[in-house]
Symmetry: C2
Subunit: 365 residues, 2 copies
């Protein structure tokens, strides 16, 4: 096994090359590239690049005729479902990929242009919950592999993309290995195939834990006190941008002195996951009083909270439906784990290159 | 009339003070402030600050007892509606403000703490389409003004917040002036009231025009060619973050040589507004051929397009339903007008201070 880099833009390619990575170890895996970015890749000899449309082939022909092209085909979930806990968090195939039916046509076009197509790429979607989808698309890859052979191409690269989550990685890896053995076992044995995978989310999700403080509190309806609103020092526009995306955020743990309590949802189905991975510990350190508040102890009744970010924007809400102990006060702390999945992926320019080691960010009062 | 500054955070206050603005001309208009931010305001003598909950009063009492507090009350639309073209783009009152019923209670609490409450604030929501909502809340302000008098406070400040759009500003200003005359005419005449408004969106929306190029093209289903996907050099994660928010984005104008065409929606109701304010001009400059493409002329049939940003993220879609001429090619340009409403508001740290003059950003191929 070796490590390579999936880059999606000129900036990412430049960043990786600046780390003295060989251009051979980079796949420029954006099927719709700006012409100037293709020219840049050409000057740096970053040959491997994906495509999924005819226009891209014309651009590659014009700007980098020696490129080693990789056809991206469209992924689809084996069990399409409206259930937010199934399928991928992000269906990248809405944006990229050709259908299997069209693959022969586009390969014939590539052949006509005299371009060198060396393999296949797909992506089951970012944050894929159904590991069977890997199996299905590895099978599909094998079918297109044969179509390519008929068109006159001998493929050597299979880029199976990412989507690997932190919490189902072993299951996904096992499904992938079985499917690869079944479909590409002969080629793997002969050393005739390079298999590429991008476990970005798996690597980055647990790399980021946020500790942030409670800065303000109020009742949603002061008259009834039924639901409390808690305002924390971080939010959507800073380190908790995962709150934008359904399924990205785990429920936080609130920390008061030495006591901790991990939030649960008040709803039967929720936009956030309740597995924060933090052990619940409810010790009393005997000093619960907090600045400016009432020394309510963190035990006993739970109540409904909404959790808000610090900016004046009403879109800056972190969680609408958290069940937490009564008595949370200004100065208490919230811990959000595994925030790296989206926050780091969102920083596209730095993806792959800056995710090194663990990160702990503290945003205070 | 004079110009002052609405700040929402420690950073904004610091930024404005660095421009040699007097602390008297700043309202720290965040009703839920971090304790450290209140302490900072205290050291800088930025006295005017909003609040909407008891906890905030305790914090102000502890950290800045001489503050000049301004009570924020909750705005609500006079014609609640699910119609996305009515009401505010952002209902800020989901996050802030006390009900009129609770205003007496919280003012009594403030009195008990010996705090100085000098006025009222409300915000009808950012991007308010119903100008009657200003009228209604100015009327409500007058009622709370009287409640305050009964509690023992003589108010002198009315901060009516923002929400002023670029395209209905005169209508909104007229409604505001009439309501102010009706409700506060006596005080205005005697010079006993400072009226504050925040026309941030009105100022910033037209300040930002984006010109960006087409970098890639394909059919949504290659087999049918019914809908085309166009990829541009800018998107959600860069200058077109307005695409996140319903109603923020105007349809772009596509420019090919000297010809322009302004997109319309293919849908009866759409997430984007079709009034781009750009004049349609359809001259032929005789040189339509574009790099790498076919020299289809931009006239005749229209067809459906989706417009995508350049990153590999499938969430990076700008418009799903644009009606545009056939024959858009790599190298053509898209012009997005009035992008400053959200993009600048999103840059909270810089709001108010950096919106100076016009901005034109070009993101190329």
């Amino acid at each position: 096994m070796k490590i390579g880099f999936d880059c999606a833009s000129h900036t990412e390619v430049a960043e990786i090359l600046s780390l003295s990575v060989s251009p051979n170890d980079i796949i420029y895996a954006n099927p719709c590239k700006a012409p100037s970015h293709i020219r840049y890749a050409s000057t740096k000899n970053v040959k491997k690049m994906t495509f999924d449309n005819i226009t891209e082939l014309y651009k590659i022909k014009a700007h980098f005729p020696d490129a080693e092209c990789i056809l991206r085909f469209k992924a689809h979930d084996p069990t399409p479902s409206k259930n937010p806990s199934e399928g991928a968090l992000y269906e990248l195939s809405k944006k990229y990929g050709v259908t299997i039916d069209y693959s022969r046509e586009i390969l014939l076009q590539a052949k006509k242009l005299g371009l060198n197509v060396i393999g296949l790429a797909f992506h089951v979607g970012s944050g894929q919950r159904n590991v069977r989808t890997y199996t299905r698309h590895i099978e599909e890859a094998r079918r297109i592999w044969e179509i390519a052979r008929e068109v006159g191409y001998t493929f050597t690269v299979l880029d199976m993309g990412g989507g690997f989550m932190y919490n189902n990685f072993e299951e996904a890896a096992s499904a992938v290995n079985t499917a690869l053995d079944n479909e590409f076992g002969d080629m793997i044995e002969q050393g005739g195939i390079d298999i590429v995978a991008e476990p970005g989310r798996y690597v980055s999700a647990p790399a980021f834990t946020l500790v942030t403080s409670v800065i303000a509190m109020r009742e949603e309806r002061e008259e009834t006190g039924e639901k409390r609103m808690v305002y924390i020092a971080d939010g959507l526009y800073s380190n908790i941008n995962a709150a934008f995306w359904p399924g990205e955020l785990t429920y936080p743990t609130v920390v008061k002195g030495k006591r901790t309590y991990t939030a649960k949802s008040t709803l039967p189905t929720s936009s956030a996951s309740s597995d924060s991975g933090i052990e619940v510990e409810e010790e009393d350190n005997g000093s619960m009083d907090q600045e400016g508040g009432i020394s309510t102890l963190m035990r006993g009744d739970l109540q409904e909270y909404s959790i808000w970010g610090p900016t004046c924007d009403c879109m800056d809400i972190v969680i609408e439906d958290a069940l937490l102990p009564k008595g949370i006060e200004v100065g208490d702390w919230f811990v959000f784990k595994d925030l790296g999945g989206k926050i780091l992926i969102s920083l596209f320019l730095y993806f792959d290159s800056k995710v090194i080691g663990g990160m702990l960010t503290i945003t205070g009062q």
